[in-house]
Subunit: 209 residues, 2 copies
């Protein structure tokens, strides 16, 4: 439980380091300095070294980091060295995009069932995932317990879905609906807000002139 | 140009602070301490104060920050105190989700045109946005110049679209395709990778047990 003190933004950066290391690895790069890795991630190298120092000692002074070893280590820290089966609620445009996003299963995050309230969607199979009625959620989760539930419903339905997920033992929720969810302390909720990226773009754009 | 030295992650946090301040404002909250704001944002308060110190002096010691004044100031820093017209390339599931995401125009980010290569999509109007053939892109951008282009195409089409955007004077690109784009230094490219959020969720989930 002590790792709960690690700030969310540090964990986000660890995930970012993993992505950049994956790119380096696919380019055949074996060694990287903290300066180079930091630059590719858009952080400063002191920050990078501090983030990694939370989890022990990495790298060799003057030599840098072994790309595959550091990647393996970060994946173990993140918990992405295993498979995470998931369920999805809400098969709208975003839900369809998520079900069809092949990078997720490639990284171990695999949808095993989807749910909707729309009769026209129930019974469809999208990228090998069956769409159930939301009423079947307790039964499906009892038969196929998973730890992660993803919410891609309209805002007004999100809390009800979260309550259903939590009642069926789901411990981690990724919420794409633009609403803050109430949840017990032993459930982890991450909220996705893509408008943050547009803000960031505006910041740098305004400074181009 | 000097603000280019501000790390991307700091800008991301500024956007996050703006969101949380918006929530506080909608709840009628007028004053907030740096500790409370930091906690709501998932950062530590020293980090928050350091981020804000890049842009001058805020708040009154022992009293805290005025929520509306700090929000207004951060919006001015971010450049989200104005409208940003945008175009979209790729009207697939994710593109449709973006065109229908009403929080974007509410925050000043408004699509004025969309582009696709699929005959079945060209000529459709989605949430008041017309879908043009990608071949019409130079003409549309000449008639309606915008600064931001959003890429929601498959990975293999993303670089070609980015080149078209840049040739027509677009200065900021938000790329949802899972590929790193080549671009000149006077063009800002932000890359969206939602798999980072799943990684973050996995990290905290594994530490629940």
């Amino acid at each position: 439980m002590s790792d709960f003190r690690i700030p969310g933004i540090t964990v986000y950066r660890l995930a970012l380091y993993a992505r950049v290391l994956e790119n380096f690895l696919s380019e055949g790069k074996e060694l990287v300095s903290s300066e180079e890795l930091a630059r590719a991630c858009g952080v400063n190298s002191a920050q990078l070294r501090k983030d990694l120092s939370y989890f022990g000692q990495f790298g060799v002074r003057g030599v840098g980091y072994s790309v595959p070893a550091l990647l393996k280590h970060i994946r173990r820290i993140l918990g992405t060295d295993r498979e995470w089966p998931m369920v999805l609620a809400g098969v709208g445009h975003l839900g369809l995009a998520l079900l069809n996003y092949d990078l997720l299963p490639q990284r171990g995050f695999k949808f095993v069932a989807a749910f909707d309230v729309d009769e026209k969607k129930i019974g469809r199979v999208i990228n090998d995932v069956y769409v159930y009625s939301i009423e079947q959620l307790p039964w499906v989760l009892k038969e196929h317990p998973v730890e992660i539930g993803v919410i891609a419903t309209p805002a007004k339905a999100a809390q009800e879905v979260a309550d259903l997920f939590i009642a069926q033992g789901i411990k981690g929720i990724l919420n794409f609906a633009p609403v803050r969810l109430k949840h017990p302390k032993n459930v982890v909720v991450e909220h996705s807000d893509i408008t943050l990226l547009f803000d960031k773009l505006a910041f740098y754009l305004r400074r181009l002139d």
